[in-house]
């Protein structure tokens, strides 16, 4: 396998890891998988691409606006949809799942209606920089993606350890009822977790759309990949989603390389069933088995 493929593994892995980090935050705060995070990332990337291509906006403004929109979408989802439905149904899993799938569909269609239904190219943040390591060359966009991934993960890690809300989020994640009994602002922390997840996937969508472009249907696949990355990594640590993302990216690159392109989807299905059967809580587990 050529060394250049490893660059691609790192690039895809960082992206999956960021989306999985978004899942992780929502899972800690609200105890459910926000499948709409994939479309949020797509909406962020597509908004910026459209603003730059059709309206002539500079990259910086378009990117910031795209990321902000992803965060706003995440907050609106929580306040206007998930919370009322949770309150009505008593926190059942199925109604929230349906609500999230409905959001996924609606955001996808909204993007398709607003920005058109064709693939749009993203723009690299560092188009003129390449890093030549002798055996591989790394383009500027990959450097930015890796740097942003490291900064995001470190930021979330520090935030969950040092800040007030971050610590409450960890408390809520390990025992919601106890946190509520202790008088912690569970609802507000949930909202913060949603917003933060929106910011993270918004950034991820920006950075990844420069690689392969973005269309209104991209979010669906991204949502599934991020979910799988989290399933592989587990929720034992903040860094687990990144490990899961890198492993998933490695599998997605190696399997087609050795077994042909169609085997990829079979392999992904097999990995998912294997993990659910053997290690349902992922590779990194926080709780001690007794």
């Amino acid at each position: 396998m050529s060394a250049q493929l490893w660059v691609s593994v790192v690039q895809i892995g960082c992206f999956f890891g960021l989306v999985a980090l978004g899942y992780y935050l929502v899972l800690e705060g609200a105890d459910f998988f926000n499948f709409a995070l994939g479309p949020f990332a797509m909406f962020s990337g597509l908004t910026a691409s459209w603003l730059m291509a059709q309206q002539g906006w500079p990259l910086g403004f378009a990117a910031v606006l795209g990321i902000a929109i992803a965060a706003v979408l995440a907050v609106v989802t929580e306040v206007a949809l998930v919370r009322p439905i949770d309150a009505r149904t008593g926190g059942g899993e199925l109604p929230s799942l349906i609500a999230v799938v409905a959001v996924l569909f609606a955001v996808e269609q909204l993007a398709g209606t607003l920005f058109g239904r064709q693939l749009m190219p993203g723009r690299s943040w560092l188009p003129d920089t390449t890093l030549d390591l002798g055996f591989v060359t790394v383009d500027g966009q990959t450097l930015v993606l890796v740097a942003c991934t490291l900064v995001s993960f470190t930021g979330v890690w520090v935030w969950m350890r040092k800040s007030k809300y971050g610590r409450i989020l960890r408390a809520v994640g390990s025992n919601r009822e106890a946190a509520r009994t202790l008088g912690m602002p569970v609802g507000r922390v949930r909202l913060v977790a949603f917003a933060l997840a929106g910011l993270v996937v918004g950034l991820a969508g920006q950075l990844f759309s420069a690689k392969a472009g973005v269309s209104f249907q991209s979010g669906f696949g991204w949502a599934l990949s991020g979910f799988l990355a989290l399933v592989i990594g587990g929720t034992g640590s903040v860094w687990a989603p990144l490990a899961g993302g890198l492993l998933l990216a490695l599998a997605q690159t190696l399997v087609p390389y050795y077994l042909g392109s169609a085997s990829l989807d079979y392999a992904v299905l097999a990995v998912a069933i294997l993990f659910f059967a053997l290690r349902p809580s992922g590779l990194f587990v926080r709780r001690v088995r007794v």
Partner: protein
Amino acid sequence: MSAVSVKESAGSFGWVRSAETARVLGTLVLTLGVIAWAGGDLFRQDLALLGATYALLALGMYLPFNLAGALSLAYSAYVAIGGYAVGLVATETGWPLPVAYLLGAVASAVLAVVLGFATRRLSGFYLAAVTLLFGVAFQSFLLDAKEITGGALGIGSIRPLTLFGGEVDRRSFIALTLLVVWIVAVAVDRVRRSPFGVALQSSRDVPAAVEAAGIGVPALRLTVLGAGAAIASVGGGLFTTANQTIGPDTFTLSLVMLAIFMPLLGGQGSAWGAVLGAVLVVELTFNLQIFERAGSLIFGIAVLAVLLIAPRGILGYAGQGARWLRGRLTRTGGTR
């Protein structure tokens, strides 16, 4: 006058049976109305066919999802199996096409039971994700196994159905398809109100109680997953027969998303909600040209609105309205 007659029989069991008869006959009249509406118009025939296929898909998902609470998203695969069964039987063998419907239904049911068994410990988000991945893998199988499925081109020039020695033309075939939808919807609605259906709905809400009553919940789930897959597969088979072609793009993953929302929109309280939802989806996404391509967006927003403010769907509120009206009528009848 009619209010009095309703009141007279309201207390006895006979009244329930007459309401049931009225429902069955009323929906039959509606179905015949749709058949007459479609008539010889090609565009209307397409709409009716698409609506019928969606309705069968939604009815297939109604049993495991709306009644038993198991959200399996592999239905695009089951519908496609029904379609490819017709394609393969028509082009590779000389068997009559109804054999293909049967084979497709059996194959889908077996696959659904196997997948259901493999994922029997999963529920909610995990079940949805794994079955969705199965749908993705099946789609690449359709593209990849060129010897069986014809790859990206699919299978074309499928011969029409022959019954009693004569070819069934498209118009009669679509009438037949709509009648199949009516039969399946009546049957599924009967299942919902049968003891089996009650056990199914209880297994969604309180599985422990159903287990305690001596009914195995896993076996119950596998049964309805298989039955639902068979129904969806028949839908795919009928659609393929009418269009005489099937490809990997005929039934995509997004179809499953539409199918989840159909009973929500129509009303989950009855199997007819799934059918009504299917009609609405076809109307919104294909027929309403004034919205240009925003029909799907309107559909998505409608689903969100229904989820938020009208969780019982259109039929649920219509039923409530009818009960209220009947209550008013019988009360005034009583004081008179």
